[in-house]
């Protein structure tokens, strides 16, 4: 590969972490709330249900809380996630890390990897609803605010992830 196409190395993790912490701090200071990801998906789901069957979302205990007046693009977390996609894309483009491919383990077919990705995503959806948030809204945000539930979530999620990663280690090595 020529120098123009070689991806640049990733940033130092502590430097990136302090940068991420300053973004989270800016969110607390300017907006009075932390970061999030699953809330944006919940708003999208509520909007999708309402588009398919008008009024159906309002009758659901979870979706009703995520309906926004004026459509999903007026929702704070939806706009934040649009920003995440934009920021991630620009950062990757400047570091020559854009490219359509399936990242997978050495002993994993493309089909197996995509099934595992989608299945894992669906499990995270169930977990994030029960936990009232994911790695962004609970672990990072709640963690920095010393929330009891956030630290219970961090402990449970990491312990479980280590067990499952150990059980499936053969597919990545």
């Amino acid at each position: 590969m020529s120098a123009r196409t070689v991806p640049r190395p990733y940033a130092d993790p502590y430097l990136a972490g302090v940068g991420l912490g300053l973004v989270l701090l800016a969110s607390f200071v300017l907006a009075g709330r932390g970061l999030g990801a699953s809330g944006a998906f919940a708003t999208a789901a509520a909007s999708a249900v309402n588009a398919a069957a008008p009024g159906a979302a309002a009758g659901n205990m979870f979706l009703a809380e995520h309906l926004t007046t004026g459509g999903p693009l007026r929702d704070w977390l939806v706009v934040e996630i649009v920003g995440v996609i934009a920021g991630g894309f620009v950062s990757a483009a400047l570091a020559r890390r854009i490219g359509g491919r399936v990242e997978r383990g050495a002993h994993q077919s493309v089909q197996q990897r995509l099934a595992s990705a989608a299945g894992g995503g669906a499990l995270m959806g169930l977990g994030a609803i029960l936990a009232r948030g994911c790695t962004s809204g609970q672990a990072l945000t709640g963690g920095a605010l010393l929330s009891l539930g956030a630290w219970l979530f961090i402990g449970a999620a990491f312990a479980s992830a280590y067990l499952v990663a150990f059980a499936t280690r053969g597919s990545w090595r």
Binding site: G17, F28, G32, V79, A122, R132, S136, S147, L148
Partner: protein, 201 residues
């Protein structure tokens, strides 16, 4: 309290949404720079070969926690106007176990899957689609487990109040544990690199 921040922006107003977009850009930028849009990088955390996830996450938590603490001490931020996520003990423990299993299978979390998808990774798009499907089906089925979903409600309770200590002491404890974790993480990475090198012919 007459602390000037956070800004009193109306929900859904152009100002609030501009802040949301800018915060999101910074969030996505940092995740991508750290390499967390890569499933291989994330799995390194759980195979103990690359502990960047832990280092990024805990240096971010320390930075935001200490920044917020001192800004409120200097009267710049009114902490009572910062939303603390509510605690539901049982659902958050169960949700954490299920979420963690999903994260190890997906190799990405919901936030980093958006970055992975934005950079053209097809496995990232699969995680985004699976996560949306999981949110949708769980939401529709939630009335059947409503009792459990609402159990263990403790409100916006924090570790210092549970452990009956001050916020300052609690922050010192978290900083100390994280620092020990950073030292341990660097040591584990060196040990794993050595054992991999020895295993190769």
């Amino acid at each position: 309290m007459s602390a000037p921040l956070p800004l009193a922006l109306a929900a859904g107003s152009p100002g609030a949404l501009a802040v949301a977009f800018a915060i999101g850009v910074g969030f996505g930028w940092c995740l991508e720079r750290a390499g967390l849009g890569s499933a291989r990088k994330l799995m390194g955390q759980f195979h103990l070969t690359d502990l960047a996830v832990f280092k990024v996450m805990f240096s971010a938590i320390l930075t935001a926690m200490l920044g917020l603490f001192w800004l409120s001490r200097f009267g710049v931020v009114d902490l009572s106007r910062v939303y603390v996520p509510e605690t539901f003990v049982g659902p958050q423990l169960a949700g954490g176990v299920i979420f963690g299993a999903g994260m190890a299978l997906a190799g990405l979390c919901p936030g980093t899957s958006c970055v992975a998808a934005a950079t053209g990774r097809v496995d990232g798009i699969a995680v985004v689609a699976g996560f949306f499907a999981g949110i949708l089906t769980t939401a529709l089925a939630l009335p059947t487990i409503a009792l459990f979903y609402g159990s263990g409600a403790r409100g916006g309770v924090t570790l210092d109040s549970v452990l009956d200590t001050s916020q300052g002491v609690m922050i010192l404890v978290v900083v100390t544990i994280a620092m020990a974790g950073f030292v341990a993480a660097d040591r584990i990475e060196r040990l794993m690199a050595r054992s991999v090198a020895e295993a190769e012919p």
